[in-house]
């Protein structure tokens, strides 16, 4: 990934206590992370809290990031998704039902920075790739990743055998990887 080195440098600087490095990393990746969190929790107020908490964890744990275990972006995505899933699991069933509705577009003002154009192009490409998956493959990936459901819960939700859910998960992920080569993720 072409932006790997600046990200790594930022995390090293964060580990040394450089708050400017956190600002740089935030400006580069916050729109992508916020989009992910908003997709999971559904509510703007919850999503903002989760986003802030995820970045705070990134700041506090910068020295524990291990390049051997994945990219900086993958690490940030894991932190953000994990907190977002914790949030939806902690809400009441009533709130959960509300958050299951499609996320509303948050209001934007002219002063807000627009999401990075490259990220948006990439997202459109990925969204199109996701749409080409078999419906069951797409469904199990979305319920597992954005819905935070376990495979057993997914099987119960869609009324399919657990073994099929497992197969669809693997096939869907591999297909996504094939459809969008690594060069297009740069």
């Amino acid at each position: 990934m072409s932006d790997q080195d600046p990200d790594r440098t930022c995390v090293s600087r964060m580990a040394a206590g450089d708050t400017r490095a956190l600002e740089e990393l935030y400006d580069r990746h916050a729109p992508m992370l916020y989009g992910l969190v908003l997709r999971i929790v559904g509510r703007v107020s919850d999503a903002e809290e989760v986003l802030q908490d995820a970045w705070l964890q990134a700041w506090r744990r910068a020295e524990t990031w291990d390049p051997a275990r994945g990219t900086v972006v993958a690490w940030l995505v894991t932190l953000a998704r994990s907190r977002a899933i914790d949030r939806i699991r902690s809400v009441t069933s009533r709130q959960r039902a509300e958050s299951a509705t499609p996320a509303p577009d948050p209001p934007r003002t002219a002063d807000e920075p627009a999401a990075n154009a490259v990220q948006r192009q990439r997202q459109e490409r990925l969204s199109a790739a996701l749409a080409t998956l078999a419906p069951r493959q797409r469904e199990v990936l979305e319920l597992g990743y954005f819905g935070g459901l376990s495979q057993t819960e997914i099987a119960e939700r869609i009324g399919a055998p657990l073994g099929s859910v497992k197969s669809w998960t693997r096939q869907g992920l591999m297909r996504l990887r094939e459809l969008v080569p690594e060069e297009e993720m740069a």
Partner: protein, 285 residues
């Protein structure tokens, strides 16, 4: 090392997606602990699929107040825990700058002690030796503590895995299948399979397992699309063997367990026995 099975690829996919159940997570961790290059490669490739899934959510610029609040909190934390050397220095309460003493008062020199120099040298040497000994003892204790913690963590993991397997037999819906001989002429092993429909796990126990020379017994799950090999079975010196099957299949699909007699090493085809099927038992609800 626990032998690799294709089912582990499915567990790898669920793990990177974050939807793996607890029992499966423990099972996979134990398998990965022993090092499996196939699964490690699969984890990497499947992670790339998850990266694409995450990035498929439309990017949205967060409200600037999130950035402001974050930086305010981070700066407050950074200010509360400055580097140790600076923290130790006395500070001016107003400017927070390190304080420099305004003047130094010279004290009258004391008369030198009457002890000979060698006493101090010997004491210093003794102190140095003691310090090194203490440091080594500390290092050794730290190492032992680390090893003990690792052993405890491994024992806890093993215990959790064993509990998950024990649950197969105690599950209210567990189905017990005694496999019956389909032909005579051979000293047949006694085979009992216990299958838990909720976890899809199965434990197959063998007794009086005496394999003819140059042959092997192979265990099969019978599914709607045909047999599926669950591996070659070899007994211990007492003729006992136990096979743990992490995923024997969905209860709607699994109809029976069967044993075939194969040439040494097994049938060579995971979807079809090459030798005769000698034992079978239907899985009934």
């Amino acid at each position: 090392m626990s032998a690799h099975r294709d089912e582990y690829f499915d567990l790898c996919a669920a793990r990177v997606l974050g939807s793996l159940g607890e029992a499966d997570r423990l099972e996979l961790e134990r398998h990965l602990e022993s090092g499996c290059p196939d699964c490690e490669r699969a984890l990497l490739e499947l992670s790339q699929g998850v990266e694409r899934l995450a990035a498929s959510a439309p990017p949205v610029a967060p409200n600037p107040r999130v950035r402001l609040a974050l930086l305010e909190q981070v700066r407050a934390e950074a200010a509360a825990s400055p580097p140790a050397r600076e923290a130790d220095a006395p500070r001016d309460p107003g400017t927070r700058a390190p304080v420099t003493p305004a003047r130094v008062i010279e004290m009258p020199r004391r008369a030198p002690p009457a002890w000979p120099t060698w006493v101090f040298a010997a004491a210093a040497a003794l102190l140095a030796v003691s310090t090194v000994a203490l440091w080594r003892t500390g290092e050794s204790l730290r190492g032992e503590l680390r090893t003990t913690r690792e052993r405890v963590a491994k024992a806890e993991l093993d215990l959790a895995v064993e509990r998950a397997w024990a649950a197969v037999a105690t599950s209210p819906g567990a189905r017990v299948v005694d496999l019956a001989p389909l032909q005579g002429g051979l000293a047949m092993p006694h085979v009992r399979a216990t299958y838990d429909p909720s976890s899809h796990r199965a434990i197959v126990a063998f007794d009086h397992l005496s394999t003819p020379a140059g042959s092997d017994f192979e265990l099969w799950a019978i599914l709607p699309d045909g047999p599926k090999s669950l591996g070659v079975v070899r007994g211990d010196a007492t003729g006992h063997a136990e096979v743990r099957v992490p995923d024997a299949g969905d209860p709607a699909a699994l109809s029976a367990f069967a044993i075939s007699l194969e040439h040494e090493g097994g049938s060579g085809n995971p979807r079809k026995p090459a030798g005769p099927v000698i034992l079978a038992g239907a899985v009934r609800s």
